[in-house]
């Protein structure tokens, strides 16, 4: 009994939806009942530390993993058990995965040749992709004769010629050096704007995630912790993990309590007291233990000594345009992002001011945003 496996028509931009997807090896669950909807034409970034399951999810969408349960749809076709080549996808890998014994041209056309596309059509599509990616002078070369950036462009071209409805990127820039990486990042962004295709992009690099993504899904332990625009992820992290994972250095945390007094809610701790009038809580605030989170740029030293909380400086990292100042208030280690002109050093006492509208509150026990 052989079912005809469904296949996704090529050339159409598609949405992707993942329903209750569980992937496990033996008892080890890599993904747990994952749900994710990627909109048509969206650039979605899967961001997380290594081992969080982001690549597994991408491979599952590509059909390269065995899945235990759940459903994956591309467009409106259920592709849960379809062959990778029947899913209307193009995929770009970290190691480029170019076929070493084929020329650039043969690399790009291989997928089309495998599906017996007419010769003329293949030629036209390869030429078009080569034009978009400026690979025309390199068509006859072998991958070994190309630079890393060129190889990755060929890998992108391989996905382009197939007119894939969904592009999957598995850490495509991680093997490149910093300068090339930022160049190709811009190129990818432009490509997305031109093609307007659906793109799913796996990375552990938050700068890539922030700059490229329309939306970012932050993953940890096989679970999507938060799905939102880069702005939301950065400014309204759903939990402490995201708050510390995003941003370099991560968010500062101060342990304390929320107290509801006659003149409104207030966060009290040994280090500082902060009125919570400007804070938009997820639900109604309750009295009890809480953690206050504040980004390094939202803590600033005050020019003249006033009665702000006093931090003693332990370390100063000058980075050129900005300087990171590390210090302590009592038990709490803090980092400040200050302009590069900052002059000061170890042992200095800084009085801090805090942007009260920029604070975050997390539950002490669960780590969830309050």
């Amino acid at each position: 009994m052989i079912e005809a496996t469904p296949s996704v028509p090529l050339g159409a931009r598609s949405s992707v939806s993942v329903r209750d997807l569980t992937i496990a090896y033996g008892d080890l669950e890599i993904l747990k009942e994952m749900n994710l909807d990627v909109r048509t034409g969206e650039f979605l970034v899967l961001l997380g530390p290594s081992g969080c399951g982001k690549s597994t999810l991408l491979n599952a969408i590509a059909g390269l993993n065995d899945i235990r349960s759940g459903q994956i749809c591309i467009g409106d076709v259920d592709v849960t058990y379809a062959e990778p080549s029947k899913r209307g996808i193009g995929m770009v890998f970290q190691s480029y995965a170019l076929y070493p014994r084929m020329t650039v041209e043969q690399n790009m056309s291989f997928g089309l040749r495998m599906t017996s596309t007419p010769k003329a059509e293949i030629g036209a599509r390869v030429a078009e992709a080569a034009r978009i990616l400026q690979l025309e002078p390199l068509l006859k070369r072998r991958p070994g004769e190309l630079s890393g950036g060129q190889r990755q462009r060929v890998a992108i071209g391989r996905a382009l010629v197939k007119k894939a409805g969904v592009f999957l990127f598995d850490e495509p820039l991680s093997n490149l050096d910093a300068k090339l990486r930022s160049e190709l990042r811009v190129e990818l962004k432009r490509l997305h704007q031109d093609l307007d295709s659906t793109m799913i992009y796996v990375t552990h690099d938050q700068i890539e995630a922030m700059t490229l993504g329309d939306r970012v899904a932050v993953m940890k332990d096989g679970i999507i912790q938060q799905l939102g625009t880069p702005h939301e992820i950065y400014h309204r992290p759903a939990n402490r993990f995201i708050a510390s994972f995003i941003g370099t250095p991560g968010m500062n945390f101060i342990d304390g309590r929320v107290e509801i007094g006659p003149d409104g809610a207030c966060f009290r701790s040994a280090a500082m007291d902060v009125p919570l009038a400007g804070y938009e809580p997820v639900g109604p605030l309750r009295q009890g233990a809480a953690v206050l989170g504040i980004r390094p740029e939202h803590l600033q030293p005050m020019s003249e000594d006033r009665d702000g909380p006093a931090m003693s400086v332990t370390l100063v990292e000058a980075m050129g345009p900005e300087t990171i100042v590390h210090g302590r208030i009592g038990e709490n280690a803090l980092a400040l992002r200050v302009p590069g002109e900052f002059e000061g050093g170890r042992g200095d006492i800084l009085h801090l001011s805090l942007a009260t509208t920029k604070i975050n509150l997390f539950d002490t026990a669960s780590g969830l945003r309050l």
């Binding site: 491979n59 590509a62 059909g63 390269l64 062959e83 990778p84 080549s85 996808i89 193009g90 995929m91 890998f93 970290q94 190691s95 480029y96 995965a97 170019l98 076929y99 070493p100 014994r101 084929m102 291989f110 997928g111 495998m114 599906t115 890998a155 391989r158 197939k162 598995d170």
Partner: protein, 303 residues
């Protein structure tokens, strides 16, 4: 200093810093040891060569190492075409033909087969692949003696005992673990993403093998060929048991010529026959150069 620094850039070159000054007692000792070892390894071949080029009278004088005074190629001709095994005096040429007839098909089949197995096991990981591979590796370690007797019964039942096809089949069976291991390790060393990319591109099992994997397999293919050619050519045991009277390989005939003679032994002919028998693997070894080295170490170290 500069030479050291540049030498360090070269991959897999000796570690320059461990080296003492160029002329030191240790250094001289090193060269003496190397030279002595070289003599030890070359001596038997030299002796074989000069013996095979001397007439028997000169051999009886008892100087093993000396270059022949009366150089003669007669022993070589005799070894090839008229040396006796028992009552038959056809030289070793029949064995040569047999060895070619056995080696060529057995090598081709076992290498191709090993390539397919290694590819299937390493990239597609069919259910039980680890068990299959582990079993084959274990099988490669077990002496032939364990398998041969039942195997003779099986071949006899199929009427293949003593036939060329049967002997080739036996070589394929016993060559399979090594070739599978070589290809499996080679393919396992490739980025798995290559395989994923090919699947996304729509290449199935055979298309991926033919268009993606095989074109990249040249290095390991040569290694496998070299190892199989020398291995099968040098086999004695399997030829002895399964070759019957009509398909005795060269090694077997050589041993018969040398060790089962009655009357006076013609050492010059014996040595000529020995060299002729060793010629094919030696040629393969010298032509393949580093590949054989890489092959034996890869097979050994990774196995």
């Amino acid at each position: 200093m500069d030479r050291r620094a540049s030498a360090m850039q070269i991959d897999r070159k000796p570690i320059p810093l461990g080296r003492p000054r160029l002329v030191s007692p240790g250094r001289i000792g090193l060269y003496i040891f190397a030279f002595a070892s070289m003599l030890f390894f070359l001596l038997p071949f030299w002796v074989m060569l000069v013996t095979s080029l001397k007439p028997m009278d000169e051999i009886r004088l008892g100087n093993l190492l000396a270059w022949p005074d009366n150089l003669t190629f007669q022993p070589w001709i005799a070894a090839w075409s008229s040396a006796c095994t028992g009552l038959v005096c056809d030289g070793i040429r029949g064995g040569f033909v047999n060895s070619v007839l056995i080696t060529v098909p057995a090598v081709i089949i076992s290498v191709l087969f090993g390539a397919i197995n290694g590819y299937a096991i390493s990239t597609w990981k069919p259910r039980g692949a680890d068990l299959l591979f582990g079993g084959l590796v274990l099988g490669a370690f077990i002496p032939y003696q364990v398998f041969v007797y039942p195997m003779t019964r099986v071949l006899a039942n199929f009427g293949l005992f003593g036939s060329l096809g049967g002997l080739i089949g036996i070589h394929v069976v016993f060559g399979l673990p090594l070739t599978t291991m070589l290809f499996r390790n080679f393919y396992a060393g490739m980025p798995p993403e290559l395989f994923k990319a090919a699947r996304v591109d729509g290449a199935g099992f055979w298309k991926m093998f033919v268009y993606v994997m095989l074109p990249m397999s040249m290095p390991i293919l040569v290694v496998a060929l070299v190892l199989q050619v020398t291995g099968i050519w040098n086999d004695y045991l399997l030829g002895l048991i399964f070759g019957g009277s009509s398909y005795a390989p060269m090694t077997l005939q050589l041993n018969n010529i040398v060790n089962t003679v009655e009357g006076e032994r013609n050492y010059n002919i014996d040595m000529a026959a020995t060299i002729i028998t060793a010629l094919v693997p030696l040629l393969v070894y010298f032509l393949s150069g580093k590949l054989l080295v890489r092959g034996v170490t890869a097979g050994a170290v990774k196995g």
